[in-house]
Amino acid sequence: MSRSIFRKLLSMKPKPDNKRVSPARAVPAGRDKLSGELAADLDMLRNVLGNSMDLVIREFMLCDTRAALVYINGIIDKEALRENVLRALMVDTKMVNTPGYSSGNSLAARVKENVLSIANVKEAVEIGSILEGILGAGIALLFEGDHTALTLKLPAFETRSVGEPQTESVVRGPREGFVEYLYTNLSMLRRKIKSPDLRLERMQVGRVTGTDVCVAYIKGIANPKIVEEVKKRLERIELDGVLESGYIEEFIEDAPFSIFPTVGNTEKPDRVAAQLLEGRVAIFTDGTPFVLTVPYLFLESVQASEDYYSRHFSSSLFRSLRILALILTTELPALYVAISSFNPEILPTPLLLTMASSREGVPLPAIGEVLVMGVIFEVLREAGVRLPRPVGQAVSIVGALVLGDAAVSAGLVSAPAVIVTALTGIASFVVPSQSDAQIFIRFCFTIMAGFAGFFGLFLGFALILIHLASLRSYGTPYLSPLAPFSKGDLRDTFTRFPWWAMGGRPRVIGWRNPRRAGNVSPPAPPGDKRNSRGEGDG
């Protein structure tokens, strides 16, 4: 219902007129090719770029021909420009006209073949592609009387150095995180997966920003249908600007009206590599360290990359703890409300008495207490994220002392409500990737429990469960491998089996290439007969 209204509202919006992502749009019609007249072409470029202050045009003589370099100041490598381009063109150009050396007809082709010691050189005829080269951190080289120009890619701009990711810190495991520059990120991935099957496909999204987006997958492991679907959805995006992968996420997710994310994100290269090896597809976006991965399943939110690096007993234990925390943070306030206002008799008598005495004289009903404290906690948390660091202490003093302690001793809120809220709040940080959903579910459950006690809570639980079961991420059921049940995949859900026992790729995603290990067997002391058998159950 609300969905169809929303759709109608959307369709009332005027349709965007221009589809193509290209600087060629700015070029006047009929003059989209080089004229061969240097001065005219340079004027043209200058006009199209609006005589921008950072545009640099350097004219010089190449032997006896006039030529010009066009680039944008600040985004190219000046060192390389000086050493490998200008010096070569102005000083070492004798060979350009040496018959034995030259091949190709045009001057541009000869320069490209013989002079420039730069790897990434392309010939360009259209103004549009020249502009693309200049704006994409390159240099354009134009010659008098030649219809072909050269574009040289020489990017060099200020980037953040690789550091430890803030959102996913680990005790054990690689500490490097992605940065904002796409090609650095891709290099980090290449360094981890040295396989010719690693495919990186470039796309451009954003009509004005022309943001580079890269679809990464491993051929032979990823499902080609999912790869196609990702590319199709990316192509459908019609948006002026893509400044972060979140823009893309909202266009390519399966369930835009769900509170649950159906696209994953991470800023850790090791995590992306692991996802690709399981058969997923990653989407890199230039300008952000957050890489999207699909399909994204519900249980991924309780899996940390560290689970796979530390010993499997502790990993399994911590996974169970995370699931417990997920249940606590969504259901604890609702349970408190259900018990204290509807079924207090289920508590053991001593605990019941303690609770009753602390609730005595509190003006609010249990649901009021929990909701008010819950909202206050969210406000404090949000303040903590935004505020400058030195103010942090003040907030924590106000939060902990004034709101918690003073409210209880003044008799405004009961101590159990504060404990419940604090525990809920702490538990909500355990599974960060579901944090949006957690808040919604928590408040909904609390309100439902306030209306109908345990029945409301269980009903809410059933509704959320139905919703989760109805979600899919790129064709994969969101709750798999729990529902639909997949026995082999269960090794890597609530528990994490040792690596030698997980020879199978997760079936729901990587079914096209089901084995990721050869014959695996548990390690055994030398001379043990298990060593020679070399067979595992996988």
Partner: protein
């Protein structure tokens, strides 16, 4: 197709268990005990065999038409008019039996947990969840059930485990005090529940391997029988002759639990079993009714029927009975002679008919 989803054999078996178990474990022990006393557990073993037989008949019939529901193939066997009538009969059956389940669901919650809350609150909540799951399709219902059922069975086992200290095995004696007749009489009423595999008449075409329907139904019935036996034994051994007077024995069992003064009363567990299990049970019958109606009327989509049917079910379940006593009397007296023939008798008749006419609808 009205329903494009396919469910696996495991999901189907789980659905069968969820269709029978939630209400049967709550209601049956007391009623069987009235007939068979301390030998009630034998009745359950016998009725499980009856359930297996009925299930096999249903499976055999369904496997003759692996791509059709009974609403669709009844016409092929008996002619168009009679076929429509049989289809309608099943739709009415699915709706009518569901009103009993829904009312029972609400009554238990009102009488045992929240006497001050109006009955309608529970019914509307339940129907909301069921309607939502049905709109999402059979696949989603099956997936939800894959998570719900292990929780339900796990909690049931937990309750039985925790109550072990209260059990006294001598309450099972004397064995066969009054001969075999009371045991046989004890089959009569639970047979109604154990033949609820009739829902498979509507679900077999959506199995990914319809040929395995027989095995799936047997697995489901045997599991139900085992859990029923377990709760029956626990109830008898804890309450003895008092069992006959207890309306919801599992709930009272849970109330008896007291472990180390920490776990005092496990009632919320029972409520969880009842709400989650009951919701799936209602949803399965609800789905069969909605799908059958859509097929009977040759509709392209059953989704438009979900809301009206839901309203009908809610209203009927409130209006049909004045109070719990009337409801219980109807359940025990009226239902078995009417519903058992529809659940098991008619499919048997159709199966015989199909054999005689050599009808195999599989190719179409």
């Amino acid at each position: 197709m009205l329903e494009d989803g396919k469910i696996s054999g495991r999901q189907a078996a789980f659905l069968i268990i969820s269709t029978i178990l939630p209400t049967s474990i709550m209601l049956l022990p007391g009623i069987i005990y009235q007939e068979a006393a301390q030998d009630s557990w034998m009745s359950i073993i016998l009725v499980t065999f009856f359930g297996m037989a009925a299930g096999l008949v249903i499976a055999a019939l369904g496997m003759r038409f692996p791509d059709k529901t009974i609403v669709q193939y009844a016409g092929l066997l008996t002619g168009r008019v009679l076929g429509k009538a049989i289809g309608l009969l099943y739709i009415v059956f699915f709706i009518y039996i569901n009103t009993f389940v829904i009312r029972q669901f609400g009554e238990l919650l009102v009488t045992m947990f929240m006497p001050e809350t109006p009955l309608l609150v529970f019914l509307i909540g339940l129907m909301m969840a069921s309607a939502y799951s049905i709109r999402c399709g059979l696949e989603v219902l099956a997936r939800v059930n894959e998570i719900v059922l292990p929780v339900v069975l796990g909690l049931l086992l937990l309750i039985v485990l925790l109550i072990i200290p209260e059990m006294q095995a001598q309450k099972l004696t004397p064995v066969l005090e009054k001969g075999i007749v009371p045991v046989l009489r004890g089959i009569y009423y639970p047979a109604l529940f154990f033949a609820e595999t009739a829902v498979m008449l509507m679900i077999i075409p959506f199995l990914n391997r319809p040929r395995k329907a027989g095995g799936i139904i047997l697995k489901g019935i045997v599991t139900v029988g085992l859990f029923q036996l377990l709760t029956m034994l626990a109830t008898i051994m804890v309450f003895g002759p008092r069992t006959a007077r207890i309306q919801f024995p599992v709930l009272i069992l849970a109330r008896q639990i007291s472990i180390a003064e920490l776990i005092e009363r496990a009632e919320p567990f029972v409520m969880l079993i009842w709400v989650l299990g009951g919701f799936v049970k209602v949803a399965v019958f609800y789905y069969c009714a909605v799908l059958g109606t859509a097929q009977l009327l040759n509709l392209k989509d059953y989704k438009s029927l979900v809301l009206p049917t839901g309203v009908l079910l809610t209203v009927l379940s409130v209006l049909l009975w004045g109070d719990v006593l009337e409801l219980t009397r109807q359940i025990t007296k009226l239902l078995p002679p009417v519903f058992i023939p529809i659940e098991a008798g008619l499919p048997l008749l159709l199966l015989v008919l199909a054999r005689l006419r050599g009808n195999r609808g599989g190719g179409r």
